[in-house]
């Protein structure tokens, strides 16, 4: 079990005004997530999972309350500081992969390092390593549209990990994938959580996947935390090494 705190939210609220109605997307959520935890955020559509994830990612600001990551209250950070936080502390994986279509996989993975002003040669070597780690060493020059959904999501994972974040946030990473490919992605997430000690917070609809991989499940409804379940059944002792993940990754998938 984790021994230090990675994320803490205190009475976190994010309310939107939609016309005359006030939407309480996140409504007073207080949670503590320990370093190295694999946490799944579950709930129906509109329950506030993605809104909570965006607040923790520093993409959005709370209406009230606090998000504390590594001792910093994100609500008090400037735009510039939030950008640095997203660059160095957080890695993000999206449901729709969000790779830039005009760039090759290598360039996509290099992109965060451009913002971090990493030297050209160094970032190319790191990006190659990262893509190798997710089994895409043969696809460096391909553009995202030339890849399958699974491959795109693996590239997206490689990009999320490139700046060695402490916190990996995944917004329905398997939502656009078939179950087999989804499982592969979950295996990767699980392995990074186990091997790198990275805290993973994942939004998902899929209870089965959450139960299989997440050590803790937070259930949200109407912007409120309704259940916080520790999953003792999750395997944490049979993590396959990354090379075996690569070996099992399907090759030559068509987009």
């Amino acid at each position: 079990m984790p021994n230090s705190l990675a994320v803490r939210t205190q009475s976190l609220c994010r309310h939107y005004q939609m016309g005359e109605a006030l939407v309480r997307a996140v409504d007073g959520i207080s949670i503590d997530i320990g370093a190295g935890e694999f946490v799944a955020l579950l709930g129906a559509s509109g329950s506030g999972k993605s809104s909570l994830l965006n607040l923790i990612a520093g993409l959005d600001r709370p209406t009230s309350g606090a998000v504390i990551v590594q001792g910093n209250n994100l609500a008090a950070l400037s735009r510039e500081q939030l950008a640095k936080y997203r660059l160095h502390t957080v890695g993000m994986v999206f449901q729709s992969f969000n790779l830039i279509p005009s760039m090759s996989l290598l360039e996509n993975v290099e992109l965060p390092m451009r913002f971090a002003e990493v030297d050209r040669r160094e970032r190319s070597a790191l990006a190659r390593q990262s893509l190798e780690r997710v089994g895409l060493s043969g696809r460096l020059a391909h553009r995202p549209t030339e890849l399958s959904g699974g491959e795109q999501q693996r590239a997206s994972l490689a990009r999320a990990l490139i700046n060695h974040p402490k916190l990996l946030l995944a917004d329905e990473p398997t939502g656009n994938l078939d179950s087999r490919t989804g499982t592969e992605i979950m295996e990767l997430l699980h392995s990074f959580n186990q091997s790198l000690g990275m805290t993973v917070l994942m939004v998902t609809h899929e209870q089965a996947l959450a139960e299989k991989y997440a050590g803790r499940m937070l259930h949200l409804a109407d912007g409120k935390l309704v259940d916080d379940v520790t999953n003792n059944d999750v395997r944490n002792d049979d993590v396959r090494n990354i090379s075996s993940v690569e070996a099992s990754a399907p090759r030559g998938e068509t987009p």
Binding site: N54, A57, L59, D60, R79, E80, A83, K84, R86, L87, H88, M92, F94, N98, I100, S102, M103, L111, P112, R114, F115, A116, E117, R120, R159, N163
Partner: protein
């Protein structure tokens, strides 16, 4: 982000929408081309006018006169010594003036009205001495028929077109010289022929020559060397016509302008008596009514003028007139620049439009970059770089367009000038500073146009942008 990365991403983005960005860049090019075309026309015209006026002596000539001359009808000045105590404008003074920094030469202004006989017919006109240096610095002699004086003191003469017409009995229309008469045809029967100039020589001794008839004497008023009385003797001098000039080398003299030109050295040697009886003397130390002081750079005219005044002489230049001319061209250039900039202003709206469209198209991409850690400054810099790159390419292409357009107009204008019997002229000038300024201006305008789109892109909410499909 590092400069290289910003540039690299900007160029990549521009290549992604190559057609639209090319159209925008062409818009900028047209704007820059029109600006360059207008300004080069203004600069070319200014240079053309400056060349002509500089060679005519309007810009670089100061007329220095002695204050001792009581017939000098210029207004009495408060500064400097009174007329009686002013120094004489003699040869030592001429040499001293020539030593003033910036002065190229100072020569006596010799002009007199006299009778010239051609084919036994008398013609009365103003004759002026021309320094030998005028061969290269007075463009009135550039396109003339015949040739300039062969040496400094030869008995040769150059005629102005209107006097040539008079000699040949061609009657000019009232108030203007006959524009239809061809200078080459005028010169043909005159070149190499002789004119006889009858003039009044002023001699030092009362009656040295038996042919001389003293006509007048006057008191000496020029110091000890010049104290003796003088005589005026009627003389004749044969002069060979070597050139006929179309333009007027003496145009700045107004109504006193000469129509016949002698070598200055010859005019000095002849000791012709001039109208105010004070001019060239037969003595060893001549004293002059006025000196023409030519200055190397028109900008030095005021300084040289002051120096001459400090020496106790009156000095006159038309630097004020040149200032007015420069002011006129500054205003003309301003107007041309404004008209030229209008096209660039329209092009800048094109840049704004293109970049705003790019924001809409790349909204999601901007959201992704922000989610990955791009700061507002990174996003802003990227859009600035795209605007700047369009400005740079548009500026460079525009300058090339503008230059080509200028050459074309110059070519067409010279065909027109040739048909109007004018010499060809370079009315187009694209100096290096204009090329660099136009490109810099294009980049600045493009960056200014990129201000709003860049700020808008930087402010984009990443959550909204990522939600956008």
């Amino acid at each position: 982000m590092k400069f290289y990365d910003v540039t690299d991403l900007a160029v990549r983005n521009l290549r992604e929408s190559v057609f639209r960005n090319s159209l925008t860049t062409i818009g900028i090019s047209v704007g820059v081309a029109s600006l360059v075309a207008m300004l080069s026309l203004g600069i070319g015209l200014q240079q053309l006018a400056s060349r002509r006026l500089q060679k005519s002596g309007l810009f670089d000539t100061i007329v220095a006169t002695s204050r001792r001359d009581l017939r000098n009808f210029r207004e009495q000045r408060d500064d400097g010594p009174p007329p009686a105590e002013s120094p004489a404008l003699d040869e030592p003074a001429r040499k001293k003036i020539e030593e003033i920094p910036g002065v190229v030469e100072a020569y006596p202004d010799i002009r007199f009205v006299t009778e010239l006989r051609f084919d036994d017919k008398p013609h009365l006109t103003m004759v002026a001495g021309v320094p030998f240096s005028a061969k290269s610095n007075n463009d009135a002699f550039d396109g003339m028929q015949g040739s300039f004086f062969s040496a400094e003191a030869v008995p040769e003469v150059i005629l102005q077109k209107s006097f040539a017409e008079e000699l040949l009995g061609i009657k000019p229309k009232p108030g203007a010289s006959n524009p239809d008469s061809n200078i080459a045809e005028l010169a043909k029967p005159l070149l190499g022929k002789e004119l006889t100039m009858r003039y009044a020589e002023r001699t030092a001794s009362p009656s040295a020559s038996p042919t001389a008839s003293p006509t007048t004497t006057g008191p000496g008023d020029r110091g000890p060397s010049d104290a003796a009385a003088y005589s005026v003797v009627s003389r004749e001098q044969a002069l060979k016509i070597v050139g006929v000039t179309d333009l007027d080398p003496d145009s700045m003299r107004g109504t006193a302008r000469a129509r016949v030109f002698l070598p200055l050295k010859l005019a000095q040697d002849l000791h012709v008596m001039q109208s105010n009886l004070r001019d060239t003397s037969a003595s060893d130390s001549p004293s002059y009514t006025s000196l023409s002081v030519r200055v190397g750079n028109p900008n030095q005219v005021p300084a040289v003028e002051d120096a001459i005044k400090k020496m106790g002489f009156s000095a006159f230049s038309i630097v004020d007139a040149t200032r007015s001319m420069r002011q006129f061209f500054a205003v003309l250039d301003g107007f041309l620049a404004i008209f030229g900039s209008l096209a660039l202003a329209v092009a800048s709206i094109g840049i704004v439009n293109t970049l705003v469209m790019a924001i809409l198209e790349r909204r999601r991409e901007i959201g992704i970059m922000k989610a990955l850690g791009a700061s507002d400054a990174d996003v802003r810099g990227l859009f600035f770089a795209e605007a700047g790159a369009m400005g740079l390419v548009g500026g460079a292409v525009g300058v090339t367009f503008g230059w080509a357009l200028g050459r074309l107009i110059n070519f067409a204008m010279n065909i027109y000038l040739e048909r109007q019997h004018f010499p060809p002229a370079e009315i187009w000038s694209v100096p290096l500073w204009l090329v660099l300024s136009a490109i810099a201006f294009s980049i600045v305008v493009s960056l200014l146009s990129g201000l709003y789109p860049a700020a808008r892109a930087a402010r984009l909410d990443p959550v909204q942008a990522l939600r956008y499909e």
